[in-house]
Symmetry: C2
Subunit: 333 residues, 2 copies
């Protein structure tokens, strides 16, 4: 009898996707949470004998960016870039002295600007994201990424992707899933940022877009970034953008705020098999602890309620993620 | 001396990409035209020792649709679909009797409607392409494709892709090129049409887009096709759409009208290696003969002039294409 119990436990351990083996695809995820369900979904998707098998053409996974793949506190990373660009360019623009909104942006912390936040952000974008070609913009983002550091974590922004999410992306890609970033931030920014930080190829980046103008300048064709927003990739815009890009419904959707609720609904409601995941920021010590804080630009409120109704997996960052950021390689002196 | 000449000719034949071998990747292209140059471009692109080698990530080829991959005469295929839909739906819409534009569309040949063409087309789109979900629209396109026939060629529209272009698409795909359709027609229509007819996967279809609205209807999420144009994928819009979709510059661009000029410029000017191709409709007997005809909605005029300046390959359909359409399989009685 004892031996039988031992055998059963041994078998369960062998069969459990959560055994801490060298081949564990998600080593930074604790076994106490949703990890076994994520692994089961992928194992079924690639198993021809499973009723939840998915042909490769249907293995589409969409990920929000800010707060889902990397921190969005104290302000989203693209905003840090825009502020740094504003400071870098200010000496060349003495005329900015008379621009109240730019002066507000230059002299205040963004989280103090409740009343003027909208107009300040628009001015910031128009000042730092337009009037240049898409190539010049890419160069500026690349240059900024080389040196920009997160003050609290004291490491380059580009080393701030969540390690558990890097493992999930890698696990999905190795199992034939096509992974798309569906960012509320700008597509041109995200393309540089997220391809380096999370390995997205350029054609799998979806994001908000500004106006663009094609012209020939001195016999060289250019695409100029112009003022004005062409498409806002947030809330109900996300399923629209996913349809326009992929022409298909994803089977996995990962987000962290109410801005991701529509794409979670589009992915999972009346659609099986499918997997909805919400990252819940509950770790003040290692990252941040917030959800429905009204000061927070991307609240997590209604989708937490919907998550329960629709069986979305709410990942408790504090208890489910063993590691948040990858260890930095130690420099030899 | 004779033997040496013979050897040289033999060698030239062996090395020439235009030898009529069983392995000829473009059998429907005659050797007298640009075929050897197309093959040389691809051979160089995959040859690590060539100075024109291209890593797989850069092997991006963009193709216009109407008139480039299939006929656009006497009217573009999406317009035939819209007219057929209008006739199919008319009995359910007695109120259309009082709609002058719909009556014009129902009772006239489209090429007679010079004065009212714009408003008639818009009414046609709003009547047949909106007020339904994207799934319902796909079903309608699929159903139409099952039976719709081209009057002159007496064969289903879906068997009207140009055989030389199918061979070129296949040749490029087999050599690691990612091929995109960049249609001036609607993306939702093209996605159904061009994936069946030319093997484009859904995420490689770029086209004009209408407004879309996400909503939950009876607990089921839907994307509704709404009136109004969101983006017109033609002329200067084409490079904009290519950038937004791929984030990269193509190395091959194939078109047939002035609406493709901007994407040909974006692909080839100040960008090497690159290949620009224009299909010239010169074959009245087997297809159509037209270019700058002012009655034609998509004229080929300025880009013929630019082609000479920039070394784009102008394909003379009559002399360069041995076959236009694939032979239809004979039905056994």
């Amino acid at each position: 009898m004892r031996r039988r119990n031992f055998c059963l436990i041994f078998l369960a351990l062998i069969l459990s996707p959560c055994v801490a083996l060298a081949g564990d695809p998600l080593p930074s995820w604790n076994c106490t949470g949703h990890k076994p369900q994520l692994i089961r979904f992928v194992q079924d998707a690639v198993n021809l004998n499973s009723e939840h098998y998915l042909p490769v053409s249907r293995r589409i996974a969409v990920f929000d960016g800010d707060g889902t793949l990397w921190p969005e506190q104290p302000v989203p990373i693209q905003l840090v870039f825009a502020m740094d660009e504003l400071r870098r360019l200010a000496p060349e623009h003495p005329e900015w002295k008379d621009n109240r909104l730019i002066q507000l942006a230059l002299n205040s912390e963004l989280d103090e600007l409740h009343e003027d936040l909208g107009p300040v952000l628009l001015e910031l974008l128009n000042t730092t994201h337009t009037g240049i070609t898409v190539e010049e913009f890419s160069l500026r983002v690349n240059r900024w990424m080389e040196s920009a550091q997160h003050l609290r974590f004291e490491r380059p922004y580009k080393e701030l992707a969540y390690q558990p999410m890097l493992e999930l992306l890698d696990y999905l890609r190795r199992h034939g899933f096509k992974t798309y970033l569906v960012a509320s931030g700008g597509a041109d920014f995200s393309r540089i940022w997220a391809s380096e930080v999370c390995g997205f190829s350029p054609e799998t980046i979806i994001g908000s877009t500004g106006n663009l103008r094609f012209e020939i300048r001195d016999e060289i064709p250019v695409l100029l970034k112009e003022p004005g927003i062409h498409f806002l990739d947030d809330y109900a815009g996300k399923p629209v953008a996913i349809h326009r890009r992929t022409g298909q419904k994803p089977v996995i959707c990962v987000g962290n705020s109410d801005g991701d609720q529509a794409m979670l609904e589009w992915t999972t409601l009346d659609h099986s098999p499918s997997l909805g995941i919400l990252v819940h920021h509950t770790d003040e010590l290692r990252e941040y602890d917030y959800d429905a804080d009204p000061k927070h630009a991307a609240p997590l409120k209604t989708s937490l309620i919907e998550a329960e109704k629709h069986g979305w997996h709410v990942i408790d960052m504090q208890s489910e993620w063993q590691t948040i950021f990858a260890d930095r390689p130690k420099l030899t002196p």
